[in-house]
């Protein structure tokens, strides 16, 4: 799954693209192949994006989670047989390991077809050609998981093996007699190709069949030569072994021809199998995170209700906290204000995450949503992770360079998320820059949201203005200095929901109250209130 030109690296990081990719990653090799080619839908492909999201949601509805997990197990267990199919297509005789891969893949396909029966994806992968190939290989099935090029494939193979077994026994007997004779003469066992005879143990001379490889003062290193009977038996055995090899290869060539004859159908089955793996992974994502099918239309506003930024929601869940779902409706560039730690950045990320999911044709983590498709989702601001030019650029300079890049790319349909742009310069000029930027983006027809602490931006830019609802009163500092406890109190006191406010609304940051909650000393806090 690639974000292509939808995001840049900084945007991908800020919007947790890697998290989403992992969350919808397929379980097996076939799915991964399809998944690696997955690109976001572009403007003009709204119907296709909506259809994909709808089909994934339908699949999620029609499959219990337990069955989805069983399907993923089957996808994950299927060995990659595409190499074998390709080799057979080229005219190669496959190896037994490749036949085993085909058998095991065939089992996985059949299991998947059974598990999907009655679901929204009931079209089986296994077709007539697939079954013909599997039937051809079936005599090689050995036990539950194995493959053996057994005698059942060919009567000549059976005969060749029987002859080899007889001649092997004949050779073993002849050679055994020679070894036994030497062992008896030496008065010891001889079981290695090279062996040592201590001169002190030697009674008389070495047996005739023993050849000396190296002599030392106390011992001789020897090997045992083949006698005439053993050599003749060996020749017959080797000829029989060659006949077995030829018979085995004949069977392999025959089976490989069968694979070659149906290679195109097998390729199609493999592609369908991979696509199902991708779809089932997405269905699992939709089911586990209770996602909704978005309405995707070119002229729709960007809107969702009950939206969640899933990576943070899960992190909070682990900590025993919960994510407050938010509602957003954007038809141009809106301004978002609110207190520190009130969730402005999370609101932006939620917007970006929902837009990103929709762009990939996925159900979105919201109760309901509608959105157009965008050429680019741009993230400007905190958390972009932009380290280009190292320490040569200040944080303000980096923001400006990123902004310049986004404006130069001039995506026709731009979704832009601006997180406290120009926060590190003087409020007066920072505000002027931000207002100018909002005006420029509006002229370009961009959609998005700019979070800021700068006062009066929405009014000056003539933008819609949203605000985080903020603190429900002044939070009480915890009796201990424990930061986690302070954060819990904050979470209980903060209303993270977003609401539209009038253009004349007063911007709140609740900064002094939060500083007190987080442990700043009382005297300093009192001075701050006095100076306000």
């Amino acid at each position: 799954m690639n974000y292509g030109s939808l995001l840049d690296a900084a945007g991908a990081q800020a919007l947790a693209f890697a998290w989403l990719r992992d969350a919808v990653a397929p379980a097996g090799d076939y799915g991964r192949r399809a998944f690696d080619r997955l690109e976001p839908f572009a403007p003009g492909q709204e119907a296709a994006a909506a259809a994909r999201a709808a089909s994934i949601a339908e699949l999620a509805r029609s499959l219990p989670l337990q069955r989805i997990d069983a399907l993923r197990e089957a996808f994950g267990a299927a060995p990659d047989a595409l190499g074998a199919i390709a080799r057979a297509s080229m005219g190669d005789a496959l190896s037994d390991a490749q036949f085993l891969e085909l058998v095991r893949w065939g089992d996985a396909v059949r299991r998947v077809d059974v598990l999907l029966a009655g679901s929204a994806q009931a079209q089986p992968v296994a077709g007539e050609a697939f079954e013909a190939v599997m039937a051809g290989i079936e005599p090689g099935r050995a036990g539950a998981f194995g493959f053996y090029l057994g005698d059942a494939f060919d009567e000549r193979l059976r005969e060749a093996r029987a002859r080899l077994a007889a001649l092997q026994a004949e050779f073993d007997a002849a050679r055994g007699r020679e070894i036994a004779a030497v062992a008896a003469e030496l008065g010891r066992d001889v079981s290695t190709d090279e062996f040592i005879v201590m001169r002190s143990d030697l009674r008389g001379s070495l047996p005739l069949a023993v050849r000396v490889l190296r002599e030392a003062p106390t011992y001789v290193l020897c090997t045992l030569q083949y006698g005439a009977a053993a050599l003749a038996a060996l020749e017959r055995r080797d000829a029989a072994a060659n006949a077995v090899a030829e018979a085995e290869e004949t069977v392999r060539r025959r089976l490989s021809s069968l694979v070659r004859a149906h290679a195109a159908a097998l390729d199609r089955a493999a592609a369908a199998f991979g696509a199902l793996d991708v779809a089932v992974a997405a269905a699992r994502f939709a089911a586990v995170y209770q996602c909704a099918v978005p309405r995707v239309e070119a002229d729709a506003p960007f809107e969702f209700a009950g939206g969640r930024f899933l990576p943070l929601a899960l992190e909070l869940e682990v900590q025993g906290r919960s994510f407050t779902p938010i509602d957003v409706r954007l038809s141009g560039i809106a301004v978002l204000t609110g207190p520190n730690m009130g969730g402005k950045s999370v609101c932006l990320r939620t917007c970006g995450f929902v837009a990103m999911c929709a762009a990939f044709g996925l159900p979105v983590p919201a109760a309901a949503a509608q959105t157009p498709l965008f050429d680019e989702i741009a993230w400007l601001g905190i958390g972009s992770g932009e380290e280009r030019l190292g320490g040569l650029l200040s944080s303000f300079a980096r923001e400006v360079v990123r902004l310049r890049d986004v404006l130069e790319r001039a995506a026709p349909r731009l979704f832009v998320l601006i997180d406290e742009f120009a926060r590190t310069t003087t409020p007066n000029e920072g505000k002027a820059l931000l207002v100018a930027l909002i005006e420029r983006l509006r002229e370009r027809g961009a959609c998005g949201m700019a979070a800021t602490h700068l006062s009066g931006v929405a009014r000056a830019a003539g933008s819609e203005h949203f605000a985080v609802k903020g603190l429900r009163g002044i939070p009480q500092r915890p009796p201990t200095e424990d930061l986690n406890e302070a954060l819990t109190i904050l979470a209980e006191t903060m209303d993270y929901r977003i609401a539209p406010v009038g253009a004349q609304a007063e911007d709140r940051s609740d900064a002094i109250a939060l500083a007190a909650l987080l442990g700043l000393d009382d005297e300093l806090v009192a001075r701050a209130y006095a100076a306000l």
Binding site: S95, D96, G146, S191, T192, E194, L221, E248
Partner: protein, 296 residues
Amino acid sequence: MPVGRELLDLWRASGARSLFVVGIGKNVGKTVTMRAVYDAAGAGDATVGLTSIGRDGEASDAGDGAPKPRLWLRPKTVVATARDVLPRSPASELLDLLNLPTAAGDVLLARVAQPAYYELVGPPTASGVRRCVDALLSRCDLALVDGAIDRVAALAGGRDAIVVAAGAASADSMNDAVEQVRALVQRLGVPQFDPHEPFRRVDGALTPALAADLIAAREPRQIVVRDPTQIALSGKAASHALERLRLRCERPLHAIAATIASIGRERTFEPKAFARAVAAATGLPTFDVYAETRAA
């Protein structure tokens, strides 16, 4: 009694189902030792599984082309080996794909259908070797592993018997070879720690630097590692540390015997003297697999 049979009896007496043959270097008779034990096991009705830490059973040395001892396997033997070295003929019964990559393809589990020469190429990781051993033991009575001194980490977490192999090919002199095998056996034979006495636990490996610090500090307590594979010292450094520190482990390993190969390509040692020296240095029953003798 044939040497292979004596080794097999020692293995069975240890209670372990897997046996690692660990050599002090290359061409020290590991494969010959393994073959002797394999042949002895085959004389009974035990089913045997084989694998390797590395590559074994090849017809000739990859370095100098010299012939090497090969593995002629009988039907029903199970091997865990890389798919590219599995003989194309006679066909083997393929039992499982283990998804463990090696330079010669993924490891698969195969049962010998007709007798043939087999080459063993095992996975490069310790965890991979353990998976192979577990897979073999799920289908066989006994598992034999051709090991390597620099890969003893594969012994971690198992309940294996160990045979150490010493040979003229890996040392400049007999004394050197004996010292190497003594250090290896000492290292593998680190005893279990006594929880009633003071101890200091080492998380991870006991490195030369850490051992030097402990020796310098005259550490009197037991130094406890998880198992002897965590002692990252060899040769004289290992002997030195073992003399000066009370090295102990949580899970001891079980060296049951030593074997010798007194013939190297460049030098030979006097077989009986070499066997006696190895037996004295290691305290283990010591066998010459080429002379079919046990050190007195």
